[in-house]
Subunit: 366 residues, 4 copies
């Protein structure tokens, strides 16, 4: 039951890194959304391997097909199935992994839980599984855009110790996409790229932080007490491969302030709306969006797959060593950006539909 | 639908801070667990207000009743309903709040979402709602203890900038409970208590960090890809009032390491089990527990309610100021400890039941 | 997890027939519904034991309390907890049942599943559990009435072989409530009452059929393919104690017709609406309501508890006999009517909220 | 959210009758089940169109592919995706249906709910959607067989008014499959086939009743109070296209008996097991299986699509007539048999996993 996410806008993904393919069923998409496959492909292209010199060289065009739920360019309100066939698989690269567990990978735990695993690549724990999420996220983004002009923009704010100060209020998608590391600070981005290349050349890997901002999120999204917006956002991004931490608004740093420093005082803006003077809450109070920018951050650990030799054990319980040979990313951050955006979009869209209902979200008069 | 948590071990809470009472229905508890109400009361006592000089003086004994699901001292496998009646309510303290929104509270967002709120105290967003969680967590803890000797221990590692280094492998419940701030470092604890008192005397508040360790967690818990153990843990604790951040294992700090520094190398221990030399994964790899210590941290912001005057607005849209008069905690951390433990227990117990089944968890031969 | 029903309008019930009490948490009720406890009590009074000479003489006033979710006469959008304390319990009546399984009751299966049961009365399998459902159903009915003037009327159409032809288009609640058997055909009703008394005097019991009509159901309710309206209705009523069969529209009798006899031809009515000339579909086509009367029937078996001696076995595996002594209904039908109505209301309200969203159902402008 | 069924053994289907294809994701299948695609194909062949002279002549081989979740002939515990591409589509046959609503079909209600529909064939409401269910059911059957030697056998007991008395205790799959109408009474089967041919030649259609028996069902399956076994079975089969009624055990006929006639008296069998002398309960008491045969019946209406001219209306609201031209079944019963079996298997397997847990169902030592 762990492969389904969301309630009213609900996705179920399938697929291993090697095998027939990967994809998603989206259940609950409002009807009569105009949808072109290129809109989905565009997001997948931001996620796909081989997109730049700092990502894994695995060659996958990740070309998607829509097999149901869309008719004459419009959604039907029925399940939308989107899939990508696996192509550039080289199972021979993984022969060694049939026997040895890769450190800090899911090989050992899948074996412990299921007593079996697809050892060709990461199997189900591969980041390839996120194709379905990103495809579904593209649709969620479009709905949010259409209903309330919601914008969701993710970007890299830190690679290892290289940090960039980005203004979430003004950052644009164009700035993010202007370089291959997806850090909208041009100078810092170049340093980050250099650092990733250096680390890769050493046979090592690094991690960092993705920040994501949501602009124009409607007030009132989130369902206390367990399905608070920040709780659902936390689950969403912590289900991404390699994530180790989550923050909303002031996050861990906010614990260094006093209440009088931290609280977001209220005022009435020109339009008569209730607003806050600061935004340490990160756009959510009591689990419900308050109309301010929603701002969250996700920590991604350094890629577990490295060429350096490491101690490990075999399935049969013998100690040995392993130096990875398969293709891999030296740093997941650039490709994690569209994944974070997708997960954030899925959460917001689900709560939007809880608020509006499936059929009335896009067509309020129905 | 946001008031239910868990799948096989599933809780639904109810209640506002003022009104008839608060409580929980626990659905899916395995049958034939011996259960005494004192075991639940004991956990509630760790959560209740008025327990020490650094918590809110609100007087609530929080005495619980079990109304169903237990017969002759044993669970029936049917829903267990536990409730606490509200007693020391002083709605008059909150008159001002009927009109004014408290900064960084949920008053404004509840009004925005529902068009109505119980303004006597925090209503549904009050930490009082967590009584049901802690009561259910007491049962989850007992099941985990009985099935696999699982221990869940939470403790304060930081109050504002006062940090304590605690060894999660050896910390004991007795150490945690030996002082009122629940920091198992005696000297640091005294400094923390002093700081909380000073801040309270200034009419202000502070936050901090709770760490929680799980010992003896069985291998194999967690349901990739969306219900990864760390994802469910993140959602669980981020649904607690005042939480702003979550980390598992190396967390945000782990992003400063390289892969070769961060990876947990494997070895075979004396018993022939697969173990890791380090534990930056925090006991979870690929969303599944690996048998090492599960270690997580939660950031809690400074309490929003403060006596200092702050800018705010009225329900009618006028700017004004507010200085809180109701009783409140100057720092939620000491009382947050049992809440974090409870949420962690609920997640683990749910995954344990997914693995074992409701009826076979305690009685494998059934 | 079997004690929760519904998705957006979701109820969770608790309680055994003997013990602290029984009740329900309703999660997802739209905010700002005016709600008076008398509206709930009124429905409970139609369900309660001791209401007439043909029901069980167990004396329970079934007086309900609302403990959360309602403030100053209006729903808050937060969970509504409603409970009834158990009063007239006579566990001594059930001593024999601690050891012997009552034929066609759930005693043996609860023991087989859980290894334990509350043998005082029916425990969790008692019809007393339906108090929570009827209370929640009262709220669901009110929402449906307010949003679309929906009327839900149940009535007895058959007791054993005494059948009454009732016109679902015109039957009124007053007609149903005009006699104690709840059959809106006055003459037949008297015969039914006489039959029930005769059977009771013989120490035996009987069953029958409840029909339920929904008038003014909005078009478009139901979520194909699994949550078709008739599928959810079937589950809802088949979860009631003693139900053995379900039909919608033409039901089993419809299988005797040809397609040309059975199909509901379309026409356009005066208002321009698409309507059907006949209604063998029972108001649902393809799992979605079509605006015609929704008509369903439920078969209830004769009450299992009878005074006549029957063969049975003990918990310890010995053959014996049993003649029931506890108080019981000779025929569940009169009290089943409000239960069926409640379950139908819960299903419709859940689908209404899926269509409209929680917050917009009553307040479309939100 | 209506396209997912089950909790621990959970399926999500996708696909319209015309378009890319149809299929299913199965989430929660226990790992290490040996699985060959021919086992699934075999069940699909019992469901496919064109299988005999009394089914629709639409030519679809319904050849399935497994795209994930199976590795080297064994299930991985990860989602299994199975799909069938659509082939013999003749959208031109349906041109008229773009404008006209077919009586007693879902055309009008889909339009009312979604404001759009795929009018090529039945779209999402086509019986073609059940391919995913039957494929998933094949796996559920295999698990049930392997864990407890459970047998699930469906068969036709009535076509219009032609009824066959079948002994559920002894009927075999071979008997069912020995003729094209799937009625294991050879003489009656021939009469039924003749009747279907006659009706088809008249341009009309007929319905009937499918009975299904489960043998060797483990005691203890079912989760009161809402997820009673009979409630989940009712929902399962009432979600099949064309079903109008459901009965378990004595069903509607049982309401004609008195309690003393209807009750199933207990005895102790040779093995010391608690058994019942009769089985009017249909293998379920209080929502939990009791180890006796589970027996249920489903009413299927006459196929809605007929060649006879009928009154209908256009999408634009004009009255007109329609005589269907597309290919269709004159009677759905023969093909409904594997569908009913599949749904019954899915329900039982889900409850089996609730009882045993995902990972321990097939591998109890894990």
């Amino acid at each position: 039951m762990g492969n389904t996410f969301g309630h009213l806008f609900r996705i179920t993904t399938f697929g291993e890194s090697h095998g027939g393919g990967v994809g998603v069923i989206i259940d609950g998409c409002p009807p009569r959304l105009s949808l072109d496959i290129s809109e989905i492909q565009q997001e997948l292209d931001r996620r796909r391997p081989g997109q730049s010199k700092i990502t894994t060289p695995r060659k996958e065009s990740d070309t998607c097909e829509i097999l149901s739920g869309v008719f004459e360019g419009q959604t039907l309100g029925t399940p939308i199935m989107i899939m990508v066939k696996n192509k550039d698989t080289r199972p021979q690269d993984y022969d060694e992994m049939a026997k040895k567990y890769r450190p800090s990978h899911a090989d050992a735990t899948y074996d412990a839980k299921y007593g079996i695993r697809n050892w060709q690549g990461g199997g189900r724990s591969s980041a390839r599984e996120t194709i379905g999420r990103v495809a579904a996220g593209a649709i969620a983004k479009k709905i949010l855009k259409q209903v309330a002009n919601v914008e969701i923009i993710g970007y890299v704010t830190r690679i290892k110790d290289l940090e960039a100060a980005i203004d979430p209020a003004t950052v644009t998608l164009e700035q993010v996409e202007s370089n291959i590391v997806r850090c909208p600070h041009p100078d810092r981005a170049q340093q980050m790229i250099q650092l990733i290349e250096d680390i890769r050349d050493q046979g090592d890997s690094i991690g960092g932080v993705v920040e994501c901002v949501v602009r124009n999120a409607p007030t009132g999204l989130g369902s206390p007490v367990f399905d608070k917006l920040e709780a659902d956002l936390a689950k969403a991004v912590m289900s991404l491969p390699a994530s180790k931490g989550f923050e909303i608004g002031s996050g861990f740093a906010g614990t260094l302030l006093t209440g009088s420093q931290h609280n977001d005082e209220f005022y009435i803006d020109d339009t008569g709306a209730v607003r806050t003077l600061s935004n340490r809450s990160g756009g959510v109070q009591g689990g419900i969006s308050n109309g301010e920018l929603i701002i969250l951050r996700v920590a991604f650990k350094p890629t577990a797959t490295i060429r350096k030799e490491q101690k490990t054990v075999t399935r049969e319980g013998e100690e040995t060593t392993l130096a990875a040979k398969g293709r891999h990313d030296p740093c997941v951050l650039p490709r994690a950006v569209p994944m974070v955006e997708a997960m954030v979009a899925l959460v917001l869209c689900d709560h939007l539909l809880r608020h509006h209902g499936q059929c009335r979200t896009l067509n309020p008069e129905d």
